[in-house]
């Protein structure tokens, strides 16, 4: 399998304050204590429920994660004497803890808030249920910690398939994109495509927030696709299902003629089906990409035309099997 080596960025940590800011619409965190610690870094997309740590077991304490306090933890703390609770919390704070998050609008003990205030450990609270808080925080954090890069290419949605079109400058990526947009497909980004890998194996293309859906077309200049073709012809994010590499027609090169061999390329660690299309005057690349996208969908639905034809021919040549 080919690997597309790209320099990429991946955040090592993000401050608690950023989580509060970015999750304002979703979880609307209220800060109950530890304001001075809002710049504390979170290093992991995972969440820890510190029940065992609160009961005194600190081996393998996942201290670098957000510590979620639900009904169980809050009510367990109430069973401890103030001295015992203080001691357990002090033990926990011998490790760096980024923040506590409370769900269900739970009311923590004042002595818990006191010690968090003294230690500068932020305590955040949401009104949502525990499982909602966990799943939303993990989803958001894994997005923040995902590797990302920008790539020179074009991303479109073609018949529902996210296509990433790559190729040397001047090979006709933007012109092909324009024709696909004219034919009713949707532009994600042209020239500057933001790529993100989520959940180990999913590659997403995003619009650059500065240029949005503008394109440069040689001979015309800069155009705004959203203004010209309408909102139906653009989208901001799309998962990539197919990578298309355009290249100058090379009579020496071997191109796939049967489609029996499926090629893949690895981008940011995600494995993406890959096709190479030779470009030559008179070849309508947009239509070829449309057909490639449809064929990709057909394969995903379980129909591999090349394979079926081959099986059929083998069957005719050798009736009833051997």
């Amino acid at each position: 399998m080919k690997t597309k080596d790209l320099p990429y960025n991946r955040k090592a940590s993000i401050p608690v304050a950023r989580i509060i800011d970015r999750m304002r619409d979703e979880l609307d965190f209220e800060v109950l204590a530890g304001y001075q610690g809002l710049s504390r870094p979170v290093f992991s997309a995972d969440i820890n429920r510190p029940g065992l740590a609160l009961s005194g077991y600190l081996e393998y304490f996942a201290n670098d994660r957000i510590q979620l306090l639900g009904n169980t933890e809050i009510h367990f703390m109430e069973t401890l004497t103030t001295a015992k609770l203080n001691q357990r919390l002090n033990d926990m704070f011998s490790f760096e803890v980024p923040a506590f998050v409370l769900s269900r609008n739970l009311e923590p003990l004042p002595s818990f808030l006191d010690i968090c205030n003294r230690r500068g450990v932020p305590v955040l609270r949401s009104t949502r249920s525990t499982d909602e808080v966990i799943s939303r925080v993990i989803l958001y954090l894994s997005e923040e910690f995902s590797p990302e890069t920008t790539i020179h290419g074009t991303a479109l949605e073609c018949y529902g398939v996210g296509c990433l079109i790559l190729g040397a400058p001047g090979v006709g990526k933007s012109e092909t994109a324009l024709e696909l947009i004219e034919r009713g497909h949707r532009l994600v980004a042209d020239d500057v495509v933001l790529l993100k890998r989520l959940r180990e194996d999913q590659l997403y293309a995003e619009t650059n927030p500065v240029i949005e859906h503008r394109m440069e077309i040689r001979g015309v200049g800069i155009i705004d696709v959203k203004a010209i073709f309408g909102v139906g012809c653009v989208r901001n994010v799309k998962r990539i299902g197919l990578m298309v590499e355009l290249e100058e027609w090379n009579p020496e090169a071997q191109y796939d003629r049967t489609g029996l061999q499926e090629e893949h390329v690895e981008i940011l660690g995600a494995r993406i089906p890959y096709i190479r299309i030779p470009v030559r005057p008179g070849r309508n690349i947009a239509i070829i990409i449309e057909v490639a996208a449809l064929n990709h969908r057909l394969k995903e639905l379980g129909t591999n035309t090349a394979q079926e034809l081959n099986d059929r021919i083998l069957n005719i040549m050798n009736p009833g099997g051997k």
Binding site: N9, T150, H152, G170, D191, M215, I222
Partner: protein
């Protein structure tokens, strides 16, 4: 050959559309691949849109990377263009 050099944006308005087009015109004359690096992003210098996303203002230091057989000539041409302030004040 791979060359890397730091260059400063000296014109008052920074890298807006016209300077970006001037960079692209200059770079397209060469076979080398040219990328510009700034604040964690890396863009192809043969793309106007890419250059615009850098939002490089006057005084910004950009890293130019040229890779290819004519990288020396390409680097010299880009350097001269930056030094001229893209023909602006």
């Amino acid at each position: 050959m791979r060359l890397e050099e730091s260059m400063c944006v000296v014109n008052r308005l920074g890298v807006h559309a016209r300077p970006a087009a001037a960079i692209v015109q200059t770079v397209l004359k060469f076979q080398s691949e040219v990328h510009i690096l700034h604040a964690g992003s890396r863009v192809n210098a043969k793309s106007i849109m890419g250059l615009l996303t850098l939002a490089a203002t006057c005084g910004t230091e950009l890293t130019v990377v040229c890779e290819g057989d004519d990288s020396e000539a390409a680097m010299a041409a880009i350097k001269a263009l930056f030094a001229s302030g893209f023909g602006e004040d």
